[in-house]
């Protein structure tokens, strides 16, 4: 009788463990699906951004073809420096991700702070560039049908729109940094960092194209 009860109890315990294992596997699967879905949503958002920037680049190319001589006023050395800064900021973002994956919180926080700093310097240099171009007579103002304004309109709309994305990226960096400072991200749970990284790297990719199409060609 006692043996029968013990056998029954063991079966029940095994059943409970089995249910728990299935439940745990389901939870893990749901979490993974949620992560993949959020990542896919971000890629779809970035796809819409690709379309938006494509139109702005197309408008710039049109202005450039109308006024090729205006390109001479652009400051290549200054924007080359900006390119290196943005490339370095992309590296610091992945460095932050690599750091939280091995639970190195100091490196994680420092890398994020450095990213914010590099992004800010990028914007300051862009403001200096705009100021210099204004002195050279290149401005955004004027009628779109006026051939003299087409190059400036295309140039400033494209680069300032990108600059606005960098600004949003800096705010997002500050938010991730604040969360990291308060222990929000862990070695196991750091999807928020990867998610934010996708946006920051996209802004870098757009600049790579702008640097080549707008400044170098």
């Amino acid at each position: 009788m006692t043996e029968h009860i013990t056998a029954n109890s063991l079966t029940e315990v095994e059943a409970v463990h089995g249910v728990q294992a299935v439940h745990s596997a389901e939870t893990a699967h749901e979490a993974e699906s949620s992560t993949e879905n959020r990542k896919f949503a971000m890629w779809l958002f970035l796809a819409s951004e690709v379309m938006l920037f494509s139109v702005l680049i197309a408008i710039y190319i049109y202005g450039r073809l109308q006024q090729p001589e205006q390109h001479a006023v652009l400051n290549i050395p200054l924007t080359s420096l900006n390119t290196f800064l943005l490339l370095a900021s992309s590296f610091t973002v992945v460095r932050a991700l690599a750091a939280i994956q091995i639970n190195d919180r100091t490196k994680f926080l420092r890398s994020l702070a450095l990213t914010g700093l590099l992004g800010t310097i990028f914007l300051v240099i862009q403001m200096i560039e705009y100021s210099n171009l204004g002195h050279e007579g290149l401005t955004l103002s004027g009628s779109p049908t006026d051939p003299k304004s087409i190059f400036g309109m295309g140039f400033f709309t494209l680069t300032a729109f990108h600059g606005a994305h960098v600004f949003i990226g800096i705010i997002w960096t500050a938010r991730v940094f604040w969360g990291a400072f308060n222990g929000k991200f862990t070695q196991e749970d750091h999807f928020g960092v990867e998610f934010y990284g996708l946006y920051w790297h996209f802004v870098d990719v757009v600049w790579i194209i702008i640097f080549s199409v707008v400044y170098l060609i």
Partner: protein, 96 residues
């Protein structure tokens, strides 16, 4: 090991990220040098920019390690974007 953990283990380390950064910086220097070449400058610069962008997308945005659906989510709008860039030029001239 679930898929998420497998993905984590597949991701490159800081060493790979730094190598990619060095390659990106080197390609940027090459771009600057190419501007002094009088011929085939534009195709070279476009190819270099595309290579740099692809490196960032593949290694920093982890597209290399993610689902192929994400790759298509990027490539399709890039293709449409390129078409827009080409089509808009004669259209804008006609409209003006």
């Amino acid at each position: 090991m679930n898929k998420s953990e497998e993905h984590e283990h597949q991701l490159p380390g800081e060493g790979t990220y730094f190598t990619v950064f060095l390659v990106l910086a080197l390609l940027t220097l090459v771009e600057l040098l190419v501007t002094y070449i009088p011929v085939i400058k534009i195709p070279l610069l476009l190819a270099l920019a595309a290579t740099k962008a692809w490196l960032v997308v593949q290694f920093y945005m982890h597209l290399r390690y993610d689902s192929k659906v994400f790759t298509w989510a990027l490539l399709i709008p890039v293709g449409i974007g390129l078409l827009i860039m080409i089509i808009i030029q004669p259209l804008a001239t006609i409209v003006r």
